[in-house]
Amino acid sequence: MNGVLQLVIYLAVLVALVKPLGWFMARVLEGKAGEAPLGLGRALGWLERGVYALCGVKTDADRRPVETGWKPYAAGILIFNAIGFLAVYALQRLQHTLPGNPAGLGAVEARSAFNTAVSFATNTNWQGYGGETTMSYLTQMLGLGVQNFLSAATGIAVLAALIRGLARRSSSTIGNCWADLTRVTLYILLPLSMLLALALVSQGVVQTFREPAKVALTVPLSYSEPVKNDAGDTLKNPDGSDQTRTVQVTEQTIALGPAASQIAIKQLGTNGGGFFNVNSAHPLENPTALSDFLQVLAILLIPAALCWTFGEMVRDRRQGWAVLAAMLAIFVPLLFATYALEAAGNPRIDAIVAHGDSASAPDAPAGNLEGKEARFGVAASARWAAATTAASNGSVNSMHDSYTPLGGLIPMWLMQLGEVVFGGVGSGLYGMLMFVIVAVFVAGLMVGRAPEYLGKKIEPFEMKMAAIAVLVPCALVLVGTAVAVAIPEGYTTSNPGPHGFSQILYAFSSAGNNNGSAFAGLTANTPFYNIALGLAMWFSRYWIIVPVLAVAGSLAAKRVTPTSSGTLPTHTPVFVVMLVAVVIIVGALTFVPALALGPVVEHLQLVGK
């Protein structure tokens, strides 16, 4: 009961924040140089104008940045992202020669560094490495932390360009990419991150440059390990068995670092890359129920509010509500289903602990707690799993790999829907608007009218671009999975049977939709996975961004046809149902066969005798 209440409170707070934040973001995206609401223009306007001066961004007589067409906009975005990729790659490869490395970590291996650089430039934040053992503080801050901001700003900028394309008539321009990137970073992402970071530190998230702390263990531990010679060969006893020695452990080393500042933007920017290996399950990354609530709220906050921003910018708020309603119509049932499936638990474990028949304490936790933290329990863990995969966030506060088969199917399917149910900041909504174009086209065919959206005729060019944007991720997931299971390099799974297949399918679903979460038992820090998943992330991001901007440019140039009795209204419940149906049908038709081989078979094994 309390679990359901936690989900309801979450949804209520989220929806309540949509309007104020959505309004605020619309003001930022439509504002003049140096102007922003809530006094931010006064505080940071000088900085914005300074950036423009240094970058050579011209402003017109009305103090608005001079806009460009979609091609220069797209070129700017791509160059900017390429620089980000190169910078992260270089930092990882050179971190051992740079300051900000108190733990003395070495350079990151080349293919792993490639994977990570693509991952953070594309807002995916897939992590093949363990944060505390691989990345120096400087790499985390200046490489990964910066990309958390800039990849999120990229998503919102591309969305802003698409919305302008929809809102304008007979226009040859869709915005200025430098101005959009600057304003989104300075006025939206930075202030929200500062507030969240300080709230997280108050809960116990670490924020320090001290080296890892050594503390004494109350109960010393020991383990045995094989004895090796200098060549790395295990020495043998006379009887042929391996020589082992016992190692005493009397200290625990507590990994520290500037985590809070990075976690704040990792959640707000739907990045999801953890400071520590286990991400937001780590007690120093997510120590309390309150820090958990704030972080999970931050996951969906901006993607949800951008729906309002959209309605505001096209001067028809009903359109924004309609898209938000479609997202919620898919998300809410899946959220509660994840909770119910995890709360029902694993029958095989319950049989061992005699969790039904024998007397158990009335307040004893129930459900599948393998891979979940006690302070979060089943409800807050399932809530996070649904939110992080609905959005293309990919952070975790529990280990999805250990979920029940169907409890793990839902997060996987939420990613496979194309990350349009909230999705990434900006990218989720522009992806959803591509589905809207498909939906009005299908509806137009059904009623025999030329399809249009917001008064803009949808013609073959828009349909082709929308089809590319919708189908590229599907192809990446299925082709990637097929290649991985066809070659021995793909079998680095940690679980036998259909769950092993699920681990591979999950990895490509995550990379091919720029999510970043994992069934983490898969050893993905291998040459094959580093390259294959890196390519999947790259294609998935930029093969959508470019078609979206092309649609923006094409729509901006069109005239607006006046509404007539033949116009299909796109703010009605009928259209919301239509849109939901298109998203679900594409997602279901494409992935049901693959899901049947993995989680569905495993479920049948679990419940069958």
Partner: protein, 231 residues
Amino acid sequence: MLTQLRPALVLFTILSVITGVIYPLAITGIAQVAFQGKANGSILADTAGKPIGSALVGQEFGTSDPAAAPALAKWFWGRPSATGPVPCTALNLDKATGSSGSNLGPTNPALLDNIKARLAALDAADASVGISRTSTAPGATGSAAARRATAVPIDLVTASASGLDPHISPAAAEYQVPRIAKARRMTEDAVRDLVRRHTHSRTLGVLGEPVVNVLTLNLALEQRAASESPR
């Protein structure tokens, strides 16, 4: 294309400095002043000032080896941990290990084996102080699981997500109270009283789950034992 390169480079440099240097330094500065202990890992120190743990990071008190269990009967056990080379390793640079879950799937035989081993160790610890969990009721037959009189709270036998979970459920603490009381020659009520003091209820009555901090509870038990021991 080239005309785009200059603004891209300049903007990237400026925004990198703002978001990658100024922002984290500013947050660190404020955090170090306003939340000094929490920003540095919530480190606990003994009376001599020696660091003896983090209030937020679990330490291993239990085992899944029945032979080792009796020696550990006097401690509250936390969540099983899947970190290597020893449980609750927060960072080991030599072995390149840190926080980690088991990542065992729900049908993986290894998951069930781990749970059975942990259960056997818990029973061995109980047996060493004379507690039996097997039902003596005449109708109790069948497998060992079916004959258990008390269900084991599931968080005591399943690995946490981080491998560093500092908490267990109040039910998991209550399950261990009789054992701790016998092993330490305390009354059960005295143990329960300590458990209560280290229990955190749900935030605002609704968020998260009620939990007991295992490390601070065990440190309190030791402190109590030290102050009562004859000098």
